[in-house]
Symmetry: C2
Subunit: 334 residues, 2 copies
């Protein structure tokens, strides 16, 4: 088992707990939530082929274990994983995505109305999971306020994403700053919340908690920007996705915005292709590759990873735990 794997194995600890927690009554509503988590098929018959990486609980529990408080961290790990899946149920509606992890999405199987509503139920359940922390925990209120603020930040990020999706690439509002703010809120905020939560549970100082949040949040930025690069330059064999899918969908990711900004005399040509749904992906990608977009994005990724690991180094976690976390991080972003 590699060090990276030693982090990954923590994720599976959340599954039996989540499965039981989502079995409040026999109503189909809870069946749909268990389906989405990968615990049942569409007829609510239990299956064992869980899907989803459980990336967030894995990291949270690995860090909590480093502080010697693994069991205490379960309610918060469950809350964050349920919140993450709530956001995916609603994102799938909003993005009109029919498949998630190779299975039909909730709205695709049961319709948009029920998918909105079961997502709402899962959001309440995410808060109820956190509330299973011991009644005498002095940490609860401060952690809850922290997580509620971060959960709302994810929703703010989704709102920014709508604005970017609606806008044309030629629009003055589509800037690198806005894009980075969007992914920071929509993706990185929850990863930072995950790592910081382990510090709250362990009763660490605010300085330590801040370092943990920086580790998670900066790593989250690297992770998202790496995904942008993968979409444009990885093969389908590597990703299992449509090659250059982000161009197909005319997303405004960092490499695209960077290319637009530095294409100079070819900028108008690039914008015209991007506005034309019939323009070929290859033509657009060739123009992106005339610029420093890949090198520029890779430099950003390196910067975020470096700041993430610097923050991790500042924590009081055991050296072996730090190495496990860096190995795990490198296995995700490289």
């Amino acid at each position: 088992m590699s060090n990276g794997d030693s982090v990954r194995t923590y994720g599976a600890k959340i599954d039996p707990i989540a499965n039981a927690f989502l079995t409040k009554e026999s109503s189909d509503m809870y069946g749909m939530l268990r389906y989405f988590m990968g615990y049942t098929d569409e007829h609510f018959t239990p299956i064992t082929s869980r899907t989803g990486k459980r990336f967030r609980p894995a990291v949270l529990l690995a860090i909590a274990d480093g502080y010697g408080c693994l069991d205490d961290a379960m309610p918060a790990a469950l809350s964050i994983e349920l919140f993450h899946n709530f956001s995916l149920i609603h994102d799938d509606i909003e993005d009109n995505d029919e498949l998630r992890r190779g299975r039909p999405t909730v709205w695709k199987v049961w319709g948009v109305n029920k998918a909105i509503n079961v997502g709402d139920a899962q959001l309440v359940l995410a808060l109820e999971a956190l509330a299973t922390m011991p009644a005498n925990s002095s940490t609860y209120r401060v952690l809850q306020s922290f997580l509620l603020a971060r959960y709302r930040e994810v929703i703010e990020g989704q709102h920014l994403d709508f604005s970017l999706t609606e806008a044309n690439l030629a629009n003055a509002e589509v800037t690198e700053v806005v894009y980075l703010k969007m992914i920071d809120k929509k993706s990185a905020a929850l990863i930072g919340a995950t790592t910081a939560t382990a510090g709250y549970i362990a009763g660490q100082s605010q300085t330590e908690i801040d370092a943990l949040e920086t580790f998670g949040r900066e790593f989250g930025m690297a992770y998202q920007l790496f995904d942008d690069v993968q979409s444009l330059w990885a093969t389908t064999a590597q990703t299992g996705k449509t090659p250059a899918g982000d161009i197909e969908e005319r997303k405004k990711t960092l490499p695209i915005i960077r290319a637009r900004d530095v294409l100079g005399t070819k900028q108008q040509e690039f914008l015209a292709y991007y506005a034309d749904t019939k323009a070929s992906t290859e033509t657009i990608l060739a123009l992106v590759e005339e610029t420093d977009a890949l090198a520029y994005t890779n430099a950003k990724i390196t910067g975020h990873k470096s700041r993430a690991y610097d923050a991790l180094a500042r924590t009081s976690l055991p050296q072996e735990k730090k190495e496990q976390l860096m190995d795990f991080g490198n296995s995700l972003v490289s």
Copy 2:
């Protein structure tokens, strides 16, 4: 000022607090939430013509004032009103309703995706509002667990409502029991949560809190069934709505289910009309009126009101406050 009005005036206390609470940043997302609460127009310009009855905060604050803890009740009153409005934002999408309180709904103005997302934000904000209770409040955790369970029950009620909406009136699953369970969860649970919350805030005994919840929940049932009667038998001048709108929409409310159950030899004719979208409302209503559906529903309403007021009488609230609450109740259901 009548006694009923003396309850009603408490509702307005929540508005300046809600308006400030929903102004987290300049993002349109928060503008949409203020719009829906009636604080701005579609361009986010402040307006003064607030809409919405603020029924729940009015009752909660009136009771809390009766216990001498009005100010302490504000965070919970805000939470419940924000939750209620969250549920309406999503209900409007699910029911395809274009108007609410005479104004275009959020999805109608800004599209379904943003409406789903701002509703999500409002649900998180409803929990954040509750978390503004003082950090040293020993009541917080027990009240929060109670409210989270009731909030989830409202969402369970919405799920049951989908099942009823999808089913044909001839379907064996469409029963009086299922319908009553649905309105109990979807509507009455939150009103019972509202009245019980005042007891929690005041530090009352569980017996008193249970009586308060019974008062609200039974009243909520009466209120919903009264609405069913109004839809079929009140004039547009009285309600501002389409006459017999529930028949137009082929809803399965208690009078309709009761008529079906006791129509005897005319049951098949009735079911055929109800399944035929071209059948006239008058024809259907005439068949309902051949049965005891109105008297049967009115008897149910009387029973629920009576149990509500009996429970109110068992509380330790000052006699004057009990009379104010009954007057207010009678002004809503009569």
